[in-house]
């Protein structure tokens, strides 16, 4: 296979970003101070021109000097203008594939493609920042082709791959690429989303940013003062301003939410889940179903009132910063629908309804635990003694804090549920925010059971699971009955029944004895 470069659109994308980042300096030096002959302004202009020239050269050269080559089982990347760097990324390390299409690239019919590996640091992902759609498809095909071959090879040698997926996978027909669309939002979903996400509040930081940027160059403050006194002078003007601001904020919120969640699509085929979102900047992600380690369903207090929930996939491999929240399935679904969606996407995971409640003893233990937060809060209040009008004295605040903490503990007790059955483990917990966690035994990479002195007195214990993710996902459920904790330990050690031969099951626990 030949060496290829990214599409020249890469240069345009970089130039666009350069312009975006330097525009304010340019405006300042060449427009606001255009008449100025002051030494520092003139020097600044020359430095600016030099820096831009070097940046542009660097952008062109680094595009020219970056090449990649697709091999049968890996991708090779050479980069670096002066010091060359060679990277070899085997396909078997690639965990997730995602695409992000900024508006600039869309104008040229291009896309960007990122292959995520499980590795740490800057080499965690391979980015094709600007490629044609056909080229992106070619890269994904190379990846899929490699996977198919490997599955065929695994089929030829029975048992070679059966470690995680179990024997059933080997008999399955090869995945066909039939995609089913599971969800696209309607207009009412977007409206609901824009109110629930409080995105209209986001207008405030945006205004603040604009203000502080302008304020660097103009003396806004003194003008604003005049404006404010004008406002305060007339109730009508003030009212209209507030109304205008509210309308602007809501419109802004709806537009912003629409841009993010407006064109949302969740689809899947036999092997992968695809999530696509974004109107101007398109982001898409594909996750192998086998890589989904656990599912988390979150209900914020507001969502609980409205019967909504957010389901999130815990997967192997990390995402880039602005993609972190993409692994959640549309965050404003009715709870029932969210649960159904999980079932549709992951047929081998089932959200259970019948979960156990905690015993009464758990409530006693929780009430007896030392209320560290409340005590620290009280100490802080004692020394600080906030003195504002309308705010009660510190003893009242401290009492309220204690009441709140104990109320939360009670709610948490009431909300907590667990289920350990078949290959599944499911926890639900949280006082105001409610969170349900669901995983399968073979996806849990570590199990822990612990019992504190207090828990021992009341016959309860804590269980915990660790799942692969980046960073690892640790889940803990406190104060379930000791018998259930024992059952949990039992459940986990029977993790791979097909690997335990009959004679070994009966054999005593083998260890090395220390005599010293």
């Amino acid at each position: 296979m030949e060496n290829r470069r990214m599409h020249p659109g890469r240069i345009i994308l970089s130039l666009y970003e350069l312009i975006k980042n330097t525009a304010i300096v340019f405006i300042f030096l060449f427009i606001l101070r255009r008449g100025s002959e002051a030494g520092w302004v003139v020097a600044g202009r020359w430095i600016f021109i030099a820096a831009i020239t070097i940046s542009v050269l660097n952008i062109v050269l680094s595009w020219w000097r970056t090449t990649y080559r697709l091999e049968a089982d890996s991708v090779q990347i050479d980069s670096g203008v002066f010091s060359r760097k060679h990277r070899n990324v085997p396909f078997r390390r690639v965990q997730n594939v995602n695409r992000q299409v900024p508006a600039v690239l869309r104008l040229f019919g291009l896309t960007s493609l990122t292959l995520e590996t499980g590795a740490d640091g800057e080499d965690a992902s391979v980015k094709f920042l600007a490629v044609t759609k056909a080229e992106a498809a070619r890269i994904e095909e190379a990846l899929d082709g490699y996977r198919r071959e490997r599955m065929e090879a695994a089929r030829a040698v029975p048992g070679a791959e059966g470690m995680e997926g179990g024997a059933s996978e080997i008999q399955e027909p090869l995945p066909e690429n039939v995609r089913t669309v599971h969800f696209t939002p309607e207009l009412k979903d977007v409206l609901k989303a824009s109110f629930l996400s409080f995105s209209f509040i986001a207008l405030i930081p945006v205004l603040a940013t604009i203000y502080s940027n302008i304020d660097d160059f103009f003396d806004v403050e003194s003008q604003a003062e005049g404006f404010l006194s004008f406002l305060a002078g007339s109730g009508v003007v003030l009212g209209i301003t507030i109304a205008l601001f509210a309308v602007a904020a809501i419109a802004f919120g709806i537009i912003r939410t629409y841009l993010k969640y407006g064109r949302y699509e969740i689809s899947s085929d036999d092997e992968r889940i695809y999530i696509r979102r974004g109107v101007l900047t398109e982001q898409s992600l594909s996750v192998r179903k086998k890589n989904v380690q656990a599912v988390q369903i979150t209900e914020t207090p507001l969502k609980r009132l409205l019967g909504l929930a957010e389901a999130k996939l815990v997967t192997v491999g990390s995402f880039e910063d602005n993609l972190e929240d993409i692994s959640s399935l549309y965050p404003f679904l009715r709870k029932q629908r969210a649960v159904e969606l999980v079932g549709e996407l992951l047929p081998d995971i089932r959200v259970q309804d019948g979960m156990e409640r905690l015993p009464k003893a758990a409530l006693t233990v929780r009430m007896l635990r030392f209320p560290l937060t409340a005590v620290i809060g009280t100490v802080v209040l004692y020394f600080w003694r906030p003195d504002f009008s309308y705010i009660p004295d510190w003893p009242f605040l401290a009492a309220a804090l204690f009441a709140f903490i104990y109320l939360l503990r009670y709610f948490d007790y009431r909300n907590t549920r667990y289920a350990i059955s078949g290959p599944f483990v499911q926890f639900r917990k949280g006082g105001l925010w409610r969170e349900t966690f669901l995983s399968k035994r073979e996806k849990v990479i570590e199990a822990a059971v612990s019992q504190s002195w207090l828990q021992k007195r009341f016959g309860v214990a804590t269980v915990g699971t660790t799942n692969r993710a980046k960073p690892v996902h640790v889940e803990e459920l406190k104060d379930l009955p000791a018998a259930a904790a024992e059952q949990f330990d039992q459940w986990y050690t029977e993790r791979n029944p097909e690997l335990i031969r009959g004679d070994e099951e009966a054999a005593p626990w083998k260890t090395l004895q220390s005599e010293s």
Partner: protein, 165 residues
């Protein structure tokens, strides 16, 4: 009600008590010296009263925790530590006030390592570290012979499985 979980049988060396006592004495000794120094300096230069009160409180707490972690904790910790490995799992159990049972599947073990600090070297002990994809667990204070056998055993058992994606 104590948990009825089948626990592994491997115990750590009795010399661990001495090693922990020594290292905790050194650690807490230094902290207490620092507090003593600060209190003396405070008296000398007349620091604020609340600062002196805080110093005395935290110094006192450190002294109490020193008594616990030098005289009491090492004995119980050594007595309650258990470790073991079968074909399927590495199992650990430890803890004084809170008892922890940990189960790590062999397939998830990524590396095993031995470590020896200066104090441990004096007593011929090793710390064995079992690392998985997301965490690592240490078994403190194993005699050389056991440490090496256990390491080899885990690396052998963990290698039987093929590489896990």
């Amino acid at each position: 009600m104590e948990l009825d979980i089948r626990e592994p049988e491997g115990r750590i060396s009795k010399k661990a008590v001495t090693v922990w006592r020594l290292s905790n004495t050194i650690g807490h000794g230094i902290t207490l010296l620092v507090f003593a120094g600060l209190i003396i300096a405070g008296n000398q230069f007349g620091w604020w009263d609340w600062a002196m009160t805080a110093l005395w409180i935290f110094g006192g707490l450190t002294a109490l925790s020193a008594v616990y972690s030098i005289f009491i904790e090492p004995v119980i910790l050594q007595r309650t530590w258990r470790y073991g490995a079968d074909e399927e799992f590495v199992k650990l159990r430890h803890g004084v006030i809170t008892v922890q049972h940990q189960t790590v599947p062999m397939t998830k073990v990524q590396y095993v390592g031995l470590e020896q600090g200066p104090l441990q070297r004096k007593f011929g002990l090793y710390t064995l570290t079992v690392g998985t994809m997301g965490s690592n667990h240490s078994i403190p204070a194993l005699p050389e012979q056991e440490a090496k056998e256990f390491r080899n055993r885990i690396s052998r058992l963990a290698k039987i499985r093929e590489e896990d994606e």
